[in-house]
Symmetry: C2
Subunit: 354 residues, 2 copies
């Protein structure tokens, strides 16, 4: 298969972990006889420095044309500490999601048995966790109208949803649930929020088309608790943009490292694959960042194009790295392996699994 892949490293550890993913994709090309073209483009704080824009036009154009986008991470301390900056790195990621209509963010959270000691949760609670979060990604309060009064003493953000916005991600979530354990949990705050009540109404209506999937509803505050007390109860979680942000970050930590989890952002015509984690600017250039989340994102990319054998080759190689303890510091405090070495190990294991 021929694929044109846009590489958006972004800020902090983004470029470093992305480089490991490219190693793995090259190993896949070699092993399975595919031909992938890689084109780099800038986004985030680095793009602001270079072009004044967090999402330069050239980057957006490339992303539209590409078959898939591999994204690193975004955000820098400089901006985190300067809440007044009008042009912000995060606008690069939000803009990309909005421009390409990447309305669904899919985040699998699966506990690897070999890493169970790393979870902050007790073993009997976390063992067997295998859930996937479907987060609506282009609506809600993160994209709603913002305003600040002229004298700067009053500020507001609007959380708005339409039936259509809710419907398209809901269908994806139900389809996934059908292929899994047939349970879907809608997380909202319908006892207080009007937008949540629209979610509940719309999702309940759509549920009738998926009679073999059980629909459950849960308030966000309780869901945040249940992720800690009983994560194995979940199969598919469906929720809005902000609640999904919180729950998926929680999901990443219960499996023992924020550095392990991939994600996919899906639109009607484009698909972007990126690690769960942020730009972790403190670790930039130190060769300590965990590349596994980014590498597993490439497995989601391959799966998206039906290359299941290839995706499995990546997952197997990652598993092997856990078993051989070729992991970064965040996974094993005594580890001496860096980002590069872990990327080499996994990519070599793809080419030569024995």
């Amino acid at each position: 298969m021929q694929l044109k892949i846009a590489l958006l490293g972004g800020d902090g550890i983004g470029p470093e972990v992305l480089a490991q993913s490219v190693k793995c994709l090259k190993a896949i090309e070699e092993t399975f006889n595919h031909s992938f073209e890689y084109v780099e483009a800038s986004v985030g704080a680095v793009a602001i420095s270079n072009t004044g824009k967090p999402l330069p036009d050239a980057t957006l154009k490339l992303c539209r044309e590409a078959d898939a986008i591999l994204f690193g991470a975004i955000g820098s301390l400089e901006y985190d500490n300067n809440p007044d900056a009008q042009v912000r790195p995060e606008q690069g990621l939000l803009g990309l999601r909005k421009e390409l209509g990447l309305f669904a963010n899919i985040r699998p959270v699966k506990m690897f048995d070999s890493l169970i000691a790393n979870s902050p949760l007790k073993e009997h609670i976390v063992r067997g966790t295998d859930l996937v979060i479907f987060r609506e990604l282009t609506g809600g309060i993160y994209f709603g109208k913002k305003s600040i009064s002229e004298d700067g003493t009053r500020a507001s953000d609007v959380c708005e949803y339409t039936e259509d916005e809710i419907g398209r991600v809901t269908h994806l979530a139900f389809k996934a649930a059908k292929k899994r354990r047939k349970k879907l949990t809608l997380v909202d705050k319908a006892n207080v929020l009007e937008s949540s009540r629209l979610w509940r109404k719309t999702v309940s209506e759509i549920a009738k088309s998926y009679p073999d999937v059980e629909l459950q509803t849960m308030f966000i505050d309780n869901a945040a608790v249940q992720m800690m007390m009983n994560p194995t109860q979940f199969d598919v979680i469906l929720t809005d943009n902000m609640f999904g942000d919180i729950l998926s970050d929680q999901g990443s930590v219960i499996i023992g490292s924020v550095g392990l989890l991939p994600s996919a952002s899906i639109g009607r015509e484009n698909a972007m694959f990126e690690p769960f984690h942020g730009s972790y600017p403190q670790a930039k250039g130190k060769n300590i960042a965990n590349p596994v989340a980014s590498i597993l994102s490439t497995a989601m990319l391959l799966q998206h194009y039906g290359l299941n054998e290839e995706a499995n080759a990546i997952v197997s190689a990652v598993n092997e790295s856990f078993i051989k303890k070729v992991v970064t510091l965040d996974v094993l405090g005594s580890s001496k392996y860096g980002t590069d070495y872990v990327g080499d190990f996994i990519s070599e294991h793809i080419v030569d699994p024995d």
Copy 2:
């Protein structure tokens, strides 16, 4: 001291746990020679059934006059399953907070060593947790303008904050931090939300008046993670209404039971004390609800009036109940003690500590 205390049992297990708190307050009266007057009033789903209103006028009037309010819990399955209901039990609680201007919700989260086995978190992570959450309680998205389009396909909620709303709870939080470990963590989403950026600006400004308190900022998604990975890092957490709802529910579960934690809601002229937990309608009337959160709320009430010795008598009696394992099922799965028995044990221990 003479105190007039309004008793608002509310829904579900609310009245049952409140009854145990009254036993304890009577024990305090007897032991320390005080005279408390108790006046009951209805609120929530039960008030809707009786009067059509979740917060009847008579209830509000009583609460205004009383020296303190002891609140049970609110919410029933009937309404949770009916998102379309226009009159809702939660409006009783939200209304009370708004009418009385209870702008700050204070939620201490302290790990009891004797209960550490109950935490879903590993012992080395949770041991020593001792934090207090200051949640803004009358602003933000829960109280913002709500709308739904005429055809019912578009819904929105507004999250709005003013400098004044942020300022008054911020001062309380800094004052508490000064008396504690002198660290305050502001939780927001300032990289995306305009309202969060106003929080950051306002709190940073106020911080200058408390130079001995260290101010730290954290995004809500990261804070939800840090509550699981490293809760001992926190001293005072300051945050908005919705983020505080999520974090304080998380806080309640890391210490091993949602049934253990009290809270206080403070306004300029009124103060209300209530357990952390909800109405748990499934347990109503079964004599299995944990009364400790409600009982510890009475300790916060006594403290509010400077009755520190009396408050300590309650905390000691609760501690004794843990040591003697006179606890409800949620704390110890093999326990045979019910709500009533635990309430009797604690109140008797107040009168006769040996």
